[in-house]
Symmetry: C2
Subunit: 347 residues, 2 copies
């Protein structure tokens, strides 16, 4: 099975898989127009913070490649226009702005001609892609150290190849264990309301041949009480200096159950996810569209049309429930306030 890259540079065009159609269809889209990439990010054909960042960088590369500018200044202006457009696609995506800033810095250099600048821009975009895959593989190697042959690993949401440039974070650890020959199994929670577990994680693992069993989110207590889970691996949207893990809604519920049953709970995330500044009291949990809860995948209405709902995107798992933070630079363990800065070389 070839490695899955949800967004790729094909030399003269960008290719991505439309994650909205997974698992029903495997639709690959190709574009030479950066506007089409911007629309794909807006429509969430491309989702997951690192994948969005990579797609935006490739969008900038397309703008450079197909600009009709005759001189370096004209090309820089066209590229800046693309950066500005791509930056308006998802207002809260940290990786998006980080990737676009990196692309913008390429423009600060001196270039003899447009070809030289084009090559520099494309090279930087490809480097962002490659670095993300490398970081994920490093996370996989680090995480694999704590996995034993025969483990059953519970995972939530999709912290997989489909959310990144490839390989994934929590699923990267699972892939690394599987590739190293350990006979592991996975239990995937469906992850209401948007069902990333049922749709994406199951699809990825079936594609790779890793044994996976799907459960509803409320079966976590049941599988733990039956002794069916040895470890939990989830991703992270943000990790604080204190070791608080901010991740997809439902993560905290799983962490509490894991704690009760003595099952180690790990979060796998690149060090770029670590936020040393923000105190936990200042973390704002985004409330999403209530119809995500009232309907399933925008289609099937499952309740009284206007009933009030809660729809927090994330929850916060406190450090005492977290056995370790798996990063490309190693595992941070308690006390996090001491060990997380140390891992980053800022201790």
């Amino acid at each position: 099975m070839t490695e899955l890259h949800p967004v790729e540079w094909l030399g003269d065009r960008v290719r991505w898989i439309n994650t909205l159609k997974i698992p029903w269809e495997e639709e690959w889209v190709e574009a030479r127009d950066y506007e089409r990439v911007a629309v794909a990010i807006e429509r969430m054909e491309i989702r997951g913070a690192p994948a969005i960042g990579v797609a935006a960088a490739f969008g900038v590369a397309l703008a450079a490649l197909y600009s009709g500018a005759r001189d370096v200044e004209g090309l820089k202006a066209d590229v800046r226009k693309a950066i500005e457009r791509l930056g308006r696609t998802r207002p809260t995506a940290v990786n998006l702005f980080w990737a676009l800033r990196r692309m913008g810095r390429v423009l600060e250099g001196n270039y003899g001609d447009t070809e030289e600048l084009r090559r520099a821009i494309i090279k930087e975009a490809v480097r962002i892609f490659e670095e993300d895959v490398e970081v994920n593989k490093a996370i996989g190697r680090v995480g694999n150290e704590v996995i034993e042959d025969g483990d059953t690993i519970l995972t939530h949401c999709n912290a997989g190849a489909l959310a990144t440039a490839g390989y994934g974070t929590a699923l990267g650890v699972i892939r690394a264990a599987w590739e190293s020959g350990k006979k592991i199994k996975v239990i995937a929670t469906e992850t209401r309301p948007v069902l990333q577990g049922a749709r994406l994680t199951v699809w990825e693992l079936v594609r790779d041949g890793v044994p996976v069993t799907l459960i509803t989110d409320n079966m976590v207590g049941y599988v733990m009480s039956k002794g069916l889970v040895n470890k939990v691996f989830v991703g992270a949207d943000r990790v604080l200096r204190t070791g608080h893990v901010i991740n997809k809604i439902g993560t905290y519920t799983i962490a509490v159950l894991a704690n009760r049953h003595g099952v180690p709970f790990y979060s796998a995330a690149p060090t770029s996810t670590i936020d040393l500044e923000t105190p936990v009291e200042e973390v704002v949990i985004e409330e999403r569209n209530p119809d995500e809860v009232r309907r399933v995948l925008g289609k099937l209405l499952i309740t009284v049309p206007d009933v009030p709902v809660l729809n927090p995107a994330f929850d916060i798992t406190p450090p005492e429930l977290v056995e370790g933070i798996i990063t490309e630079k190693g595992i941070a363990r308690k006390p996090y306030e001491e060990n997380i800065p140390k891992l980053l070389g800022k201790g």
Copy 2:
């Protein structure tokens, strides 16, 4: 708002609400033919153990009313045929067999003519109905004692009027508190895979004007950690002598979260639900159709078609997590092994 009775005797016919169509439509079905009642139970138009028992008793009453038999023995034979047919509708429904046995015992009496027997049969069916409503109202009164003005109560699945002859068990407690003037609010979990919370509990509470907020099952940890829940009330499919509560999948997950956050967890159920004989090790958890997890409500496929799934119908909440068992005879508290038999007058 009139009281909701999902199954009712209208003097010469049975009327029920087709719960499969809730919340999309309010379809009331009327029948004079017991075969139609049997089919309604098989198709799960009527669901919930007490509601099924009542419906079956009314089915027997229809058989008696519309039998063409000229003498008592002929009428008894027709009624026995109906009991046999209704007994084949749901093989594991304890209340179904209990209600049909009660109806069968009516046949053991001596009757001067067919009219006398007909009247006795109809009277017994109506009594089964009335007793269920009375028991639920008594559960409501008992449970209301532990509810405080301003409480927010989290409930799971549907332990409401729609599962019984009327009023409900866990929702009976909520109704009693609301009717007594306490300003309470309810948080209802959607209850995957069959979504009884989103479909039925929300519908019932909106109908009665009780403020209700819907959440996905994996938001329980979030709402508890935010201090949004004061009490948990769920129903029970079975309560053991030891205080183990066997209830809809997801109940145990909620109980563990409640325990961590110091939120009292109650189960409300009639004493007929208490099983003094079976030890917890012998409780068998039924595995239901995997497509309930792979699809939503038999309609929308949400994952890879043949992925393995778990689909246990129930889970088991251990007594240390249960603050009390609310019954029509009072509240049983720890130690359950002592206090449950005492409550039943078997201590």
